[in-house]
Amino acid sequence: MNFNFSFAIEIVPRVLEGIGNTVMIAIISFIGAAALGLFWELLRRSHATIRPVIQFVIDAIRSTPALVQIYFLFFVLPYYGLTLPALLVGSFGLSFYYSGYMSEVFKAGIDAVPAGQSEAAQSLGLSWADMIRFVILPQMLRNVAAPLGAYSISILKSTPLLAVISVPELLGSALDVASDTYRYAEPMFDVGVLFLAMSLVAVAGITQLERRLGLTAPSH
């Protein structure tokens, strides 16, 4: 078997058919992960008694592989009668996996808001929910923007995991081409180059965005 460059170029349009799904999965998963991550963090802060429980949940999410979580959702949900499109199930899986990391981002972002802010809010008589909503969250957003940007790229790079539950994203359509033509080397090469290009473009875009917003990565 030899590597055929003209074949590799010829199949690019067929491989690219999956790009819409890839972008869609990345966006759904990012929003889902951020929302769920913020939920975990607020829950962790809300009450001292449930804190260790939520901490365990977050650590457990971070201690199991994304692929295993995706398989779990994909095979276990139908058992309980919940059959959803694979794209949605996979995006939930990625959201769940990354929510564990996002919660840590939000934790650091909230911790970085000076204690005087919440003390002032309390002495002004704001309720807990109002304090979070009007005082803490707006200030936190600035702290978390850079790490969230970094995780958005990680999520983009994890989207091909959904190929294993037969979602036709980039890797999935490359695998389709491979099984149609019995040639694996060229489609896999193409998808490798495409992902590298996509992630480099995404990194450049996010760096640009951070610069425009006047953000710098917080020190770790």
């Binding site: 457990a60 201690s63 398989y71 095979f75 091909p160 190929a163 890797l171």
Partner: protein, 215 residues
């Protein structure tokens, strides 16, 4: 099959999981140290080359790289075993992230350390080997633990290139009978047993380092 039997059956794949993770570290650690040090010291074209190599391993999607190397290398006449390809791809990917920790740790060292070493008559290489690297590696220990966890979790991907790791065992068992809840709970538990203690250990170390820094 009882839950315990499933769990035991999944752990038949532990050998492959452990082998890929351990071999992966043998790729990751040297790559992280060498690439990180080179990126810190090199100038001009060498620096570009090192940066390009690091970015290639760091910016690509691991699962895509795994497929790409596994299926493309033979077309170029390079035949490697699945374990080698898996360990290499996962190792270099984690090593790419690690190299950035090494570089950052070297950059954040007080330059008085280097000056003192040079003033004592040590060669530049000895200053790096005896003074800078030991401190840098100590400083990046918490990061190292987190990346080791990423590597262990990453080994699940080798099930996709037909290596019989724990995840692959679960897929095999799932063909014997319909019991998704039992099998996939057991699979998640198997990885939890492996990684949870490391996660907790990592958190402890991180906290200790944070308080040490604050002092």
């Amino acid at each position: 099959m009882s839950f315990f039997a499933i769990l035991r059956s999944i752990y038949e794949g532990f050998g492959i999981t452990a082998a890929v993770a351990t071999l992966g570290l043998f790729f990751a650690i040297p790559f992280a140290v060498i690439a990180g040090v080179l990126q810190h010291f090199a100038t001009g074209p060498l620096r570009w080359i090192v940066t390009a190599i690091i970015e290639f391993w760091r910016s690509s999607s691991v699962i895509v790289l795994l497929y790409a190397f596994y299926y493309t290398l033979p077309a170029f006449g390079i035949f490697l075993s699945g374990i080698t390809v898996g360990a290499m791809v996962l190792g270099f990917n984690i090593g790419g992230y690690g190299s950035q920790s090494v570089r950052a740790a070297l950059q954040s060292l007080n330059k008085g350390q280097r000056e003192a070493g040079l003033a004592l008559g040590l060669s530049r290489f000895d200053v790096l080997r005896l003074i800078e690297l030991p401190q840098a590696i100590t400083a990046m220990f918490p990061t190292f633990i987190n990346q080791a966890i990423q590597l262990i979790k990453g080994t699940t991907l080798v099930s996709l290139i037909a290596l019989t790791d724990m995840t692959f065992r679960a897929k095999q068992i799932s063909e014997l009978g319909y019991n998704p809840v039992g099998i996939y709970s057991a699979l998640a538990l198997s990885y939890l047993i492996l990684c949870y203690p490391v996660t907790i250990f990592g958190r402890k170390v991180e906290r200790r380092f944070a308080t040490r820094k604050a002092r």
